[in-house]
Amino acid sequence: MRIAVLFSLAAFTALAVQTSVMHLIGVIALVPDLLLVLAVNLGLRHHNLVAAILAFALGYATDAFSGTRIGLNALLVTIVFFVCYETSRHLWVNNDVVGSVAVFLAVVFRDFGTLLLTGAGQDLQVHAGRIFAQIFAQALLTACLTPMVFALLRKGGKLLGLPATSQRE
């Protein structure tokens, strides 16, 4: 239950940052995908049913404030969660560097998935260079913010009395 409280609060903050702050400040055109960072954290560090449901909810929340199709991000974020979950079961090391790499790959996967599932494949062929550059820049920005988000989650978890070590199988 405490994990649900932690991630719900984190998700609301992340949504507010993604939808309002980044756009109104307008310093850069890119939007770091903090909700995806939360999903990766769940996949890498919390192996239970609540985590899976939370990952789906994070995707659904993204759908509510992005794009035109409900279910698209829910699907992609749930897949990201399960890939991270499977990967982390075979990892000996599970630190922030691994998290950043996982987030980078997750953003690339999610963005390409979005493009392909929304039927933008033709545009992808025509303007490949610019689209790839934008996706990689976004992935890099999100990956750079990952250690900070993970640290904030650790602090939040500590405040709520969650165990300090990751709850892996």
Binding site: L24, H47, L49, A52, S66, G71, V126
Partner: protein, 304 residues
């Protein structure tokens, strides 16, 4: 460093405990199976949502509307804070680095600047709202002015969030305009909020007319930012500088609204069509207030 899966579970029963290891192994497998089962259900649910499509008013759209409504106060507050900080940044911090001797005078000047910036902002708001009012009068349709309070949650779509919802008569499918031209259309609304799909998104399209050659075409967003004119055959007469206006045929936008100007025309490397880029009339990055039409226009064919 964390222990691998089997050791992590087994460690709770103490090293060398055969029963403990076997028991924890079974528990771990059961737990994993449960997780995979619920995961499969969630994946199927996502695919179901994605393939059926959620319409406004559907039961499955309710969580989305509740979420939007929950975010409203936070978004509105964030928007206010960000705007105020922006004003302070532009009016005050630009003056950093002034001469020590003039510190006191500069401080006074900064205060006056703040005041002036606020007045300028109010004046600009007033001007924009007056222009929007003019647009509304010219169209002769019901409309409400709305403030832009947020953007898209990811970088992959081009949407904005406005502070008017169903309470003000805003619902999905309505046209959104600014004093400069067409902005986009509403794709979802809760009680106090609505999401607008911008014309520069690759899922948004509008039926337009070239004002010079009277050719019909579809304007849509491009994935790599910008707006393009789609399905224009090589033999069609389109030139850079041509103004594009809405044709009124799509049933969303009233006829005659400015969409943009053709900026580049070149043949596609393969295919029958021309690659036509359009400079939109609206600067989507600087939208602050928009006008949402609260009634749908008659299709121009019906009109005639």
């Amino acid at each position: 460093m964390t222990l691998p899966s089997s050791e992590y579970e087994g460690a709770r029963f103490g090293p060398g405990s055969i029963f403990g290891a076997a028991f924890s192994g079974r528990r771990s497998v059961a737990r994993r199976n449960r997780l995979l089962l619920i995961g499969s259900v969630l994946l199927l649910l996502s695919v179901h949502l994605l393939s059926t499509g959620v319409k406004q008013g559907d039961l499955s759209s309710r969580p989305r509307r509740i979420l939007m409504e929950l975010m409203f106060p936070l978004d509105a507050a964030m928007a206010r804070v960000a705007r105020t900080s922006g004003r302070i940044y532009h009016s005050y911090f630009d003056l950093v680095g002034v001469n020590q001797e003039n510190q006191r005078l500069k401080s006074q000047l900064a205060q006056l600047d703040l005041l002036q910036a606020r007045l300028t902002e109010v004046e600009a708001d007033n001007q924009r709202l007056s222009e929007l009012l003019e647009v509304r009068r010219a169209l002769g349709m019901k409309a409400v002015a709305a403030n832009v309070i947020g953007g898209d949650a990811t970088g992959m779509s081009r949407t904005i969030v406005v502070d008017r919802g169903e309470r003000s008569g805003v619902k999905s499918g309505l046209a959104v305009l600014s004093e400069q031209g067409v902005v986009g259309k509403v794709i979802g609304a809760s009680r106090n909020l609505a999401r607008v799909l911008l014309l520069e998104d690759h899922n948004c399209a509008a039926d337009v007319l070239d004002q010079r050659s009277r050719i019909h075409a579809i304007v849509a967003g491009a994935v790599d930012d910008g707006v393009v004119l789609k399905y224009v055959q090589r033999s069609e007469d389109v030139k850079p500088g041509d103004r594009l206006v809405t044709s009124g045929l799509d049933g969303v936008f009233p006829r005659g609204l400015l969409v943009g100007t053709i900026s580049q025309v070149r043949p596609q490397s393969s295919g029958l069509f021309l690659d036509v880029r359009v400079a939109p009339a609206v600067n989507f990055r600087q939208l602050e207030q928009v006008l949402v039409l609260t009634e749908q226009p008659l299709r121009s064919m019906d009109h005639n």
